[in-house]
C-alpha cells in the first residue's frame, strides 16, 4: 500500500501567525480521512499546500509529485471542492460540462450527464439561478465524473440543508469512492461524516494532535457512564473529559484498560464530536 500523501516537516507562517508548525503525516490510498480542527487551526492551509495553492517549507509529496513545481500535472489526478459558491455565477450547466470535458483528460462525460439527470438541473441553467444545494450538486457531478486518485473537500456542505448534506455524502460513498481513491474532508459538521471516515486527524494551532484510524480510536478512547457514587474513583483515572447527564457522569478516557472501565459502568464508543470537544478544550480561551 503506497502513500498518496507524505508530508515531512511541513510549515507555513503568515505574517503574524503560524498556520502549520512542522507537521508530518502520511495518508495511504483507499482511505477517507477527516481533517478536523477549530477555526484557524490550519486545516485549509494544509489542504492548500497539498493542492499547490500556497507556498510552504518542508517536504510534501502528493502522488509522487511536488505540488509546488508540478501543479499542472498533479491536477489531472486531484480534484477539489473548496466551498459552496465557487462556481462562477455566469456559467451554464452545459458550458461547465463542455469545458471540463474538453480540458480534463480523465473526465467521463456520460457519467457526468447521468449524475445530472438525477437532479433538477437543466443544461441552460446558470449558476446564478441555482440554490446553494444545486450548485453543489453540479460541482459534485463534475467532480465525480473525473477519474481522480485524490479528492479534497474543504467544507463542501457549508450552508446546505440536511437533505442536500446527506445526499452529498451518500453519493460520494455509493457512486465514487473505491479502494483506488482517497478522500480528504474537512468539515465542522462532524456528526455527518463520522460514519464514513476511515481515518481521523485532529489539528490544533498548526499541529496534528491526533492521527489514527477509526478502529484504533475505538480501542483507545472509551466513554463510560458512571453513577454519582463511583465518580470519584473514575476521576482518579484521569479522564480527558467529564460531563453530567441525568444525575450520572460521563467520563471520556484515553488509553485506559477496557475491563477496568467496564467494572465502573456502561461503556461505549465516544462520538467524534465529543472526542473533538474534549481534545480541543481551551482552544479559544
Amino acid at each position: 500500500m503506497s502513500a498518496v500523501i507524505t508530508a515531512t516537516g511541513l510549515s507555513k507562517r503568515y505574517k503574524n501567525s503560524v498556520a502549520l508548525d512542522n507537521v508530518s503525516f502520511q495518508i495511504p490510498a483507499g482511505r477517507i480521512v477527516g481533517l478536523i480542527g477549530p477555526n484557524g487551526a490550519g486545516k485549509t492551509t494544509a489542504l492548500k499546500a497539498i493542492l499547490g495553492l500556497t507556498d510552504f517549507s518542508g517536504q510534501l509529496n502528493v502522488l509522487g509529485l511536488d505540488p509546488r513545481k508540478q501543479r499542472d500535472k498533479l491536477m489531472e489526478q486531484v480534484c477539489f471542492i473548496a466551498d459552496v459558491a465557487v462556481l462562477p455565477r455566469w456559467l451554464r450547466v452545459s458550458e461547465a460540462v463542455d469545458f471540463v470535458a474538453n480540458v480534463h483528460p480523465r473526465f467521463d462525460r456520460a457519467k457526468c450527464e447521468a449524475f445530472l439527470a438525477r437532479t433538477k438541473l437543466t443544461p441552460s441553467m446558470r449558476v446564478r439561478q441555482m440554490s446553494k444545494g444545486m450548485i453543489v450538486q453540479l460541482h459534485l457531478a463534475l467532480v465525480m465524473a473525473i477519474d481522480a486518485r485524490l479528492l479534497i473537500l474543504d467544507e463542501p456542505t457549508l450552508g446546505l440543508d440536511i437533505l442536500y448534506r446527506k445526499q452529498f455524502y451518500q453519493n460520494l460513498l455509493e457512486d465514487y469512492f473505491d479502494e483506488n481513491k482517497t478522500i480528504i474532508v474537512t468539515t465542522h459538521q462532524v456528526e455527518e461524516v463520522e460514519h464514513i471516515l476511515t481515518d481521523l486527524m485532529f489539528i490544533r494551532d498548526g499541529k496534528i494532535v491526533l492521527d489514527s484510524d477509526m478502529d484504533a480510536i475505538g480501542e483507545r478512547f472509551i466513554e463510560v457512564m458512571v453513577n454519582g457514587d463511583r465518580a470519584e474513583a473514575a476521576r482518579a483515572l484521569k479522564p480527558l473529559d467529564e460531563r453530567q447527564v441525568f444525575g450520572k457522569s460521563i467520563f471520556l478516557f484515553d488509553g485506559v484498560e477496557r475491563s477496568t472501565l467496564e467494572a465502573m459502568g456502561e461503556v461505549r464508543r465516544p462520538s467524534v464530536s465529543d472526542l473533538f470537544v474534549a481534545t480541543m478544550k481551551g482552544t479559544y480561551a
Partner: protein
C-alpha cells in the same frame, strides 16, 4: 492547443455581452442615428426651406467627372472606416475594463478555486485572456464594424440615387472589400501596439488585493504628475511631455485603435481630398509603424508585465 481553444471560448462565454452584443448594438445604434439624420436631411431638403443636404452640399445633377467620382468613392470608404472606428472605440473601452477584471474578478468571487482545480496551467489561462483582449474582441468588433459600414454605404448610395445619381456607379467607386481587408489585417498591428496597456492592466488585475481600477489609473497618473513637477523644477533633461506621451499614455491608452499613427511620418494633409486622407488609413502607411522603436519597446514591456501577471496568478494566495 485544444485546451487553449476552450480557454478562449470560456472567455467569450463569460464576456458575451461585451465582446459580442456591445459591438453589435453600437453598430446598430450608429446606423439608426445615421438613417435618422438622412431622413431629417431629406425632409428638410424636400420642404425646400434651405438647401440642406447630407451628401455634403454636392450639386447632384447626374454628371460627375471621373475625378469627382473618385473623391466620392474615397469619401464613402472613409464613412465605412468611421463606422468601424466607432464600433472599435466602444470595443476598446470594453477591453480596457475586461483586462482590469480578467485576473481579479475570479479571485474576488473565489471561482478561481474552481478554475485552479482543473489541470490548466496559469500561463495558458493568462495568455488566453491576452488573446481574447487583443485578437478575439477586435476581430468581432471589426466584423460588426465592417457590416455597419457596408450598410451605411448602401444607405448613403441609395440616398444619393434619390438625387439622380447612379447608385451602382457610386458603389463601384468605393472599395468596401478593401476596407474590410484593411481593417482585418490591422488587427495584428493593433495587438502588438496594445500590449503595454493590456499588460499593465492585467498586471494590476493579478497583483492587487482590491480596487484594480484605482491602482491601474492612479499609479501612472501619479508618476506623471511627479515627473512633471520635477520637470518643473528643472531636474530632468527629458521633458515631462516625453514621459506623458511615452509612458503614461502607452500604459493607459494603447487600446485606442490607430494609436500608432503618431509614430508614422505624417502625409501632407489636404483636407479637401478624401483620397489623401484615405492613404493615412492605408495598410502600408499603418505598418510603417513597425519601424518605430516605440512600438517594440512597448511590446517588450507589455510582455514583461504579462509574464509577471502569470507569476502572480500562480502564487497570489488570498483566498
Amino acid at each position: 492547443m485544444k485546451t487553449f481553444y476552450w480557454l478562449v471560448k470560456r472567455e467569450f462565454w463569460e464576456h458575451r455581452g461585451g465582446f459580442f452584443w456591445a459591438p453589435l448594438i453600437s453598430g446598430g445604434v450608429f446606423l439608426v442615428l445615421n438613417i435618422m439624420a438622412l431622413i431629417t436631411g431629406e425632409v428638410l431638403g424636400g420642404r425646400g426651406s434651405t438647401h440642406f443636404n447630407i451628401a455634403g452640399g454636392l450639386n447632384l445633377n447626374g454628371h460627375l467627372d471621373a475625378d469627382m467620382l473618385g473623391k466620392i468613392g474615397a469619401g464613402l470608404d472613409i464613412a465605412m472606416y468611421v463606422a468601424a472606428g466607432l464600433v472599435l472605440m466602444i470595443m476598446a473601452i470594453i477591453v480596457f475594463f475586461y483586462c482590469l477584471g480578467s485576473l481579479y474578478d475570479d479571485r474576488r468571487d473565489r471561482s478561481i478555486l474552481f478554475w485552479k482545480s482543473l489541470p490548466i496551467s496559469n500561463r495558458d489561462t493568462v495568455l488566453s485572456k491576452v488573446v481574447s483582449a487583443t485578437i478575439v474582441a477586435p476581430a468581432i468588433a471589426c466584423l460588426f464594424g465592417t457590416c455597419a459600414g457596408l450598410l451605411l454605404l448602401l444607405i448613403a448610395a441609395f440616398t444619393a440615387s434619390l438625387h439622380g445619381l447612379n447608385m451602382w456607379q457610386l458603389l463601384m467607386n468605393s472599395h468596401p472589400l478593401m476596407v474590410a481587408i484593411n481593417l482585418i489585417t490591422l488587427i495584428p498591428l493593433y495587438a502588438i501596439w496594445a500590449l503595454p496597456t493590456v499588460g499593465w492592466l492585467m498586471f494590476c488585475s493579478a497583483w492587487t488585493r482590491s480596487k484594480p481600477f484605482l491602482w491601474a489609473l492612479l499609479a501612472p497618473l501619479a508618476a506623471g504628475v511627479i515627473v512633471s513637477w520635477f520637470g518643473l523644477m528643472g531636474l530632468f533633461n527629458l521633458g515631462s511631455g516625453w514621459f506623458w506621451k511615452n509612458i503614461v499614455s502607452r500604459m493607459l491608452l494603447s487600446l485606442i485603435p490607430g494609436g500608432w499613427i503618431r509614430d508614422t511620418t505624417p502625409i501632407d494633409n489636404e483636407p479637401h481630398d478624401p483620397s489623401v486622407l484615405l492613404d493615412h488609413i492605408g495598410l502600408a502607411h499603418n505598418y510603417a509603424a513597425l519601424a518605430s522603436p516605440d512600438l517594440w519597446i512597448g511590446a517588450v514591456a507589455g510582455i514583461a508585465l504579462i509574464t509577471t501577471a502569470i507569476w502572480f496568478r500562480r502564487w497570489r494566495d488570498d483566498s
